[in-house]
């Protein structure tokens, strides 16, 4: 059979099974990747060349650093401190926790952010005798929005930055401002939606809760200092890597090595905590996309897309924001972005239009579009799983009723921003 047809069949079948969620996505992606080699679409050498080890190294490095740092209790401390700053007023706590989620998410992976924020959020809501659902929905929305702000905030950004050679500061100064605007807009809308529900709090409960000292959450002060130092070094590395030429993986893995050295911890435990299923999922996806590229399928897709938009930069950019958002609302945004990257590169080669606006359009559409449904991004799935376990099941449509309008408003803001700044 023609390698072209084989590659397309493997690719589509793999994606179909990933979407069906019948088999773990990592197993599916790995199987698809190996089939690309076994059936002769690409050889192993090309396949491995296609794996972006900068993305993989950056992910692993950050996972190790955060895995160690979270044991210090620093993230919980910040979240608990917010109840003091808000003086126990529910609506203030609600908004402040949202902002904290967005900020954490800009620096940490979205899933890590919600895994840190949801437990502490549940504790706060229980203490104040409040329904935790608004808090959980807010955590989903703002983790995805905050994640859009930086290179390291959301895996799609890491892949885009690595492929298009965009630095941490490129992301910070280009998508950072709009992420901030969308955070503010979303917080305002959440305020409008939930202000009645969060009005009444048990005053006595709030009073008792405020007696707690958030510093108790810090379980290990030496570890806290070492973690903060390492995070500062890593951030400095990212803020200057446009000038130093150091790539993301070097900085993140450097941070991991530094923190392991400082803590003298057994690396075995911390390397176990790396989400290897995610790492292997990425590796598999990269190989799948290489297969599709190799046989020219991506090129053909790019030609169709150009014919459809007439190669007009503005149309292409807007189509990319909304198209990416629509796709990301339905399927996981990582496979989508991995496929779109070579496609956009092909569009660039074919038409010569400047690609930078397209990268921002892709990142914003994919990161923020994921907010629309409960399955749109990994963080959404994680939060809804935790909520269900604690007896606060968030319904699919119940979520969409709040999330879709907010997501659409966010995307309109993105469209206007990109239109003014880049088109």
């Amino acid at each position: 059979m023609d390698p072209f047809i084989i590659a397309v069949i493997i690719f589509l079948a793999t994606y179909a099974v990933i979407i069906s969620e019948k088999v773990h996505r990592t197993v599916v992606a790995l199987t698809g990747a190996v089939l690309m080699i076994l059936l002769g679409v690409v050889n192993q050498h090309k396949a491995i060349e296609g794996i972006d080890f900068n993305t993989i190294g950056l992910l692993i490095g950050m996972m190790v650093v955060v895995g160690i740092a979270k044991d210090s209790g620093m993230f919980q401390y910040v979240a608990l401190q917010s109840t003091k700053i808000a003086k126990g007023k529910p609506i203030r706590i609600f908004l402040l926790l949202g902002v904290i989620t967005a900020v954490f998410s800009a620096l940490l992976d979205n899933v890590t952010t919600v895994l840190l924020m949801v437990p502490v959020t549940l504790v706060i809501a229980n203490n104040l005798r409040l329904n935790p659902k608004p808090f959980l929905i807010s955590a989903i929305l703002l983790s995805n929005i905050g994640g859009a702000a930086t290179l390291i905030g959301d895996p799609p950004n890491i892949i885009i930055g690595s492929a298009a050679n965009l630095s941490f500061n490129d992301f910070l100064f280009n998508v950072g401002p709009i992420a901030l605007i969308v955070t503010v807009l979303t917080s305002l809308m959440l305020f409008v939606v939930y202000r009645k529900e969060l009005k009444t709090a048990d005053k006595g409960a709030a009073k008792t809760f405020l007696k707690f000292d958030p510093r108790q959450a810090i379980s290990d002060v030496p570890l806290l200092k070492k973690s903060l130092f390492t995070i500062a070094v890593v951030l400095l590395g990212f803020l200057t890597h446009g000038a130093t030429g150091l790539e993301g993986a070097t900085i993140a893995l450097g941070g991991a090595a530094l923190l392991l050295l400082l803590t003298m911890n057994d690396p075995e435990k911390h390397l176990h905590e790396v989400e290897w299923t995610t790492i292997f999922f990425f590796a598999g996806l990269f190989v799948l996309v290489v297969g599709l590229e190799e046989v020219g399928a991506i090129h053909i897709l790019a030609e169709h897309l150009i014919a459809w938009t007439h190669g007009d930069p503005a149309t292409t950019t807007y189509a990319l924001i909304w198209g990416s958002a629509l796709f990301s609302a339905i399927v996981d945004n990582i496979p989508f972005v991995a496929t779109m990257i070579p496609l956009i590169q092909n569009i660039g080669e074919l038409t010569g239009i400047p690609l930078t606006p397209l990268w921002w359009a892709l990142a914003l559409g994919a990161d923020i579009g994921g907010n629309a449904t409960l399955v749109g991004a990994s963080a959404n799935v994680v939060v809804s799983g935790m909520a269900e376990k604690e007896g606060h099941k968030i319904g699919f449509l119940e979520y969409m009723k709040v999330a879709v309008p907010l997501t659409v408003v966010g995307l309109i803001a993105c469209t206007i921003y990109v239109g003014i700044r880049y088109v």
Binding site: G73, Q76, A217
Partner: protein, 155 residues
């Protein structure tokens, strides 16, 4: 002379509970029998699992507090009562230990001790060739055998 095998040191009858029981029933039986461990059996008296107070405690702690132990200090005091009330009718099948290590009545006490030690478990059902529960060994029973060898008066 008495040989050091399971059947000579196991206790009978065994405190058991049916597979379909709830958390509330399990706690009642544990209190009645003054024990922290029950053997879960099906209708044919075959071992289906082990239920210890430890399993119950783990079930009682919500997942979000297990991930962040130091958070538990901040949780509302009323949460404990709420959880217990919520979980009272939970079937024990949901939180019992399903992977049960058991031994044969003819097994030696060394084998029993080795099993307890290797898997860091506290209870060991004694099961005959057909899979029926015939007795039960725990750490106390091993300790009694040790005392016997050392000539320590059980009183």
């Amino acid at each position: 002379m008495k040989t050091f095998k399971a059947s000579n040191y196991m206790r009978t009858p065994v405190a058991t509970i049916g597979k379909g029981a709830t958390l509330k029933e399990a706690v009642r039986i544990m209190i009645e029998h003054k024990t922290n461990g029950l053997v879960v059996v099906d209708a044919d008296n075959r071992v289906a699992g082990i239920l210890s107070s430890w399993d119950m405690i783990q079930h009682l702690v919500p997942d979000y507090l297990e991930e962040d132990q130091h958070l538990a200090a901040f949780e509302a005091a009323a949460k404990f009562k709420e959880r217990v009330t919520e979980l009272a009718d939970d079937p024990i099948e949901r939180f019992m230990t399903k992977q049960v290590h058991s031994i044969h009545p003819e097994s030696t006490l060394m084998e029993a001790a080795a099993t307890l030690s290797e898997f860091r478990i506290r209870q060991l059902p004694v099961v005959d060739d057909d899979g029926y529960l015939v007795g039960y060994l725990n750490r106390t029973d091993i300790k009694k055998a040790v005392a016997e060898i050392l000539g320590i008066d059980p009183q």
